[in-house]
């Protein structure tokens, strides 16, 4: 018996694999779920599994999508000549929370990191360049994380794009340096967008 019976142990083991949930919280959550009405647990499990299964990547920008294109790319009003380049799809959600930005996105799916063997061909830079030749783009806003890898990625992309005559900007360091874009509050993100400068 020891830590509980099998179904509860299996719940706790799975929950403990999630970020920020230690063994003790996983166990507490498992016992909470054990005491939840059957229908509520069904709803929880279905939301996770059906939700994950429903997710795909937008064929244009790489953001999470339910169909071929994400809600941003599907919105004709947002094809305004601006493309905001971010590392992850979750960064799109962070930018959207600001509610100020009305252009499109491009999700790189990572950042350049020679230390970890991640080069330009491992992130969606080629796809970004393709968009610049097929779409009418006036400005590329580089909103990669304000950390070493994010800065390096922004600098690399800026060098590639500037010769094409497209305006390239970098979000201002209103975003606290060394942090994660995902955690920035709306005001800080709005400040960072306002203060963006030519590269």
């Amino acid at each position: 018996m020891a830590e509980g019976i099998d179904p509860i142990l299996r719940m706790a083991a799975q929950l403990a694999r999630l970020p920020g949930i230690g063994q003790k919280s996983a166990q507490r959550l498992a016992y909470h779920i054990a005491a939840m009405p059957l229908d509520d647990v069904k709803e929880l499990a279905a939301a996770l599994w059906q939700g994950r299964k429903a997710l795909r990547f937008c064929a244009l920008c790489g953001n999470y999508a339910e169909d071929e294109f994400c809600p941003v790319c599907k919105d004709e009003g947002r094809h305004n000549g601006q493309i905001c380049v971010v590392r992850d799809a979750r960064d799109v959600a962070a930018m959207e929370r600001m509610r100020d930005y009305r252009g499109l996105y491009h999700v790189l799916g990572g950042a350049l990191s020679p230390m970890n063997g991640i080069g330009p061909e491992d992130i969606r830079i080629k796809e970004l360049l393709a968009r610049l030749s097929t779409e009418t783009v006036e400005e590329v806003i580089l909103a990669t994380n304000p950390d070493i890898e994010g800065e390096a990625t922004a600098a690399y992309i800026a060098r590639l794009i500037k010769p094409l005559g497209v305006r390239v900007t970098r979000i201002a360091h209103g975003v606290p340096v060394g942090s994660d874009l995902e955690y920035a509050d709306e005001v800080t993100l709005a400040k960072a967008m306002e203060g963006r400068r030519e590269l």
Copy 2:
């Protein structure tokens, strides 16, 4: 769009209903799950749903069980004349982590609380008395929580059982007063068991 696309919002909404998971962590978890391999999410959802579905209550002690009886009650070697009375099934897991106790349990499923309209007929006291007349019981160890309701419940049960000539003990206050039994560490719980006193 705002906070994310529907499947992710639904995941986050469900996760935010769990104890200790706020809106922000729920959203972070949802994005983590969105990025997890499909099979891993399937395993997580299945562990929660199948796990919850597999749970029933032991016909003897009220602990969580997969069959008619829980692993403790099924173990012949543990029918040693001791019954440890706890509030919740999760408290059984806490006691079992101590690995010292070799008797049986009785889960009350609550604590007496006149304020909340919970009386003796609302928790499994009748079932405990029934066990005393059908099983050979030498000692009832009252391990309800060391808070007001737990103490009241212990005192109430002690008054009922002592006339029957059964030894009734209460775990010592090695368990920090005002806390939750579930959070006690193994050593504290062992001390509490050692120092139990006659009521």
